[in-house]
Amino acid sequence: METTTISPTPSPPAVAARSLAAVRRYAGRWGLIAALAALPIYYGITDLTNGYQAGFVAGHAVIHHDLSKLGFNFATGLSNGAIWALIAIGYTLVYGIIELINFAHGDVFMIGSFTSVGLWAVLGLGLTTGALGLIGGLIVTLIIAMLVTGSLNVLIERVAYRPLRSAPKLAALITAVGFSFILQNVGLLWRGGSPQSVPDLIRAQQPVFTIAGVPILRGYILAFAVMIPLVFALTWFINRTRAGRAMRATAQDPEAARLMGINVNATISLTFLLGGMLAGAAGLVYALYETNIWYFQGFKAGLIAFTAAVMGGIGNVRGAVLGGLIIGVIQALADSRLGPQWTEAVVFGYLIAIMVLRPRGLLGEETREAG
């Protein structure tokens, strides 16, 4: 392994080494894409050739030979992935600017869910609320939840990461894990140790229309209706505003940014604020979509979203969205075909595959860490 980066002189069996390097380059370019395409292609072919059981009519199993089950998996996966994408952006922004895996981020998302559900009760949103009141109430909930999680994330940065900025990176990673546990226990004390079902305010499982035999549920539309405008707003902010330019400059070189008159600490706080706000939005969508919440949801969601961020190329917002959507589809396929008890193992298997095949991710550049 080390010879590829360290050894300056090619050894005598150079042909073998060169072909090995070619294999490695090839695996790096196409291996991950092949691994990602493998699941849908395999299940698509088995659906077409062997068919799948679509239901029962008069006691007999109805076997279909088409791709609509795969399409349904994709629709579920993409809409789930929209939630992961919102969380993954938080990981990617923070990693991009201070090279820290913010382990507490998933739990900030969980706090977002809890805050949203608490706000419903405060605002009096229930199953009987009218459509207009519901939309207004949810928008208020969204804004407050985003502010709460955004400020929480800023607070965590201020207390746990800023004092350690010049310390070895291990230190900040450990405080991140510590804060993750603290937040989980806050959630545990807040709403108990088992999953709680919450009112299905938008009737998330109700189909709105059908495309090619795939029912599009309300939950899917909600996930995209929240995710797409937020991502556009974020990219506009990063690319077009002065503060966004400061963020990019700090991510590139904090020292040089400081010399150019950028307030680096404020910029880092702003990054945490944005990441936390997106996590809060994801928290509300998750509560509406899944209609149950528990204190441990953040840990799992955090790991899935981190996988998504790594897959897309960490530090890259477009990559995080792409990675989130892909991971969502993988997850939906595993849920529906292998059983939900194996989903986590499949997602983590992919995480390891990414690390082996293409540590910089699909859209990422070479980083010092992953190179």
Binding site: V159, K169, A172, I174, G193, A345, F348, G349, M355, E369
Partner: protein
């Protein structure tokens, strides 16, 4: 503050200078003697004895993780995998779980008549160490090209995959109607350790258990001390400090890193096997991510890379977790009018300890000498400045 610290350091150096050269050896002998006679001071089945046994086992795990995280600098967040594999080694090789097999080796007269695989506990310890060392190499391989946080994530993923396989192992068939694990039901009725001439251990008398795990601790401690001062130990530290420089000086990167994973994993496996027999059940629910962080907290609170720190960290957190929180402070929130027990939030407490420790004393309780120098380099520079500004007579020398 700085001056106070400098003065304390000065006193410490003076005390260390006065002590005769054999004092550290004498202290080690005294500690071992105290360790051996300790169980006679407490009732043989008391809660404190139980907590002590668990704390000593944690210390063994902490020493194992310290090899990976402390010596080699590879942040491993999936150490629970080796606890799981060690415990399952015991479940597989020391119970009637594989009921179609008939293998017996040096076990008690009762166990030798039962179906299943029944090996002597020492053999199981060796097997657990070997299985975990192999798993450590497998987990280490994908991380070789990576650094820092990425290693943490890959090891975390492996830990979670192994935990998931343990939970779902009931649906993995290995032939003859037997499954890989018993999932959340747990492999129960595992053998207690048996030694010819001593007999089988039982949970009414905890002293033999204590001496057994204390012996394991001494063995692991000895190996750790010898490793630290060996060529391999120096290679680990060199890799930790500067990978590129170490490799260019001829340190074999792959072999050195994989050995760190394998050795650290082997110790975790031994402790896991002991936990398997001590808890009398190997249950998939024990293998949570939180446990990895718990062990990591021991290494960090003790002082990353410091052998004695790892032991102290393991003992301190072991006692906090198994004695102080459940037996002493559990009803504390109720006294303040809260409706929860302290055991429910123990991971929050450890998280809080981690944050506090990192912010206030990142070098740990007993810092490793080299790391202390690194972390206090800034203070030393400050001292030097003080000397300069106050003139040669004013500053501490």
């Amino acid at each position: 503050m700085t001056k106070l610290r400098a003065r304390l350091r000065g006193w410490r150096a003076a005390v260390e200078k006065r002590l005769p050269p054999w004092s550290s050896r004498a202290m080690a002998v005294a500690l071992i003697a105290i360790g051996i006679v300790l169980p006679f001071l407490f009732s043989s089945s008391s809660a404190f004895m139980n907590a002590t046994i668990i704390a000593v086992t944690y210390a063994v795990m902490s020493l194992g993780l310290n090899v990976v995280v402390g010596f080699a600098g590879l942040l491993d967040l999936g150490y629970v995998a080796f606890y799981a594999l060690g415990a399952y080694s015991l479940g597989w090789l020391g119970s009637g779980f594989f009921f179609k097999a008939q293998v017996h080796a040096l076990v008690s007269p009762v166990a030798s008549t039962l179906p299943g695989v029944h090996l002597n506990f020492i053999l199981i310890l060796i097997a657990a160490a070997l299985i975990c060392a192999g798993a450590g190499v497998v987990i280490g391989l994908p991380t070789l090209r990576l650094r820092g946080d990425y290693i943490a994530v890959v090891t975390l993923a492996f830990g979670e995959i192994i935990a998931e396989v343990a939970v779902n192992g009931q649906s993995i068939h290995v032939g003859g109607g037997m499954t890989l694990t018993a999932g959340n039901l747990g492999i129960s009725a595992v053998d207690s350790p048996y030694f010819p001439g001593i007999g089988s251990f039982n949970l009414l008398n905890l002293r033999p258990w204590y001496w057994l795990i204390f012996a394991v601790l001494l063995f692991v401690l000895f190996v750790n001390l010898r490793l630290r001062d060996s060529r391999l130990g120096r290679a680990w530290i060199a890799l930790r400090e500067d990978e590129v420089a170490a490799v260019s000086m001829g340190i074999p990167l792959v072999k050195t890193k994989l050995l760190a994973y394998a050795i650290g994993a082997a110790f975790g496996g031994m402790a896991g096997a002991f936990f398997g027999t001590y808890y009398t059940v190997v249950n998939a629910g024990q293998f949570q991510f939180g446990f990895s962080i718990f062990i990591l907290a021991m290494v960090i609170i003790g002082g990353i890379g410091s052998i004695w720190g790892a032991v102290v960290g393991g003992l301190v957190l072991g006692y906090i977790n198994n004695y102080i929180i459940p037996n002493v402070l559990n009803n504390l929130p109720a006294k303040f009018g809260f409706h929860f027990q302290l055991t429910a939030v123990e991971f929050g407490i450890f998280g809080f300890l981690l944050v506090i420790m990192m912010v206030l004393r990142p070098q740990g309780l007993i810092p490793e000498r080299r790391r202390r120098l690194e972390l206090t380099a800034g203070i030393a520079a400050e001292d030097a400045q003080l000397v300069e500004t106050q003139g040669p007579a004013g500053g501490p020398t």
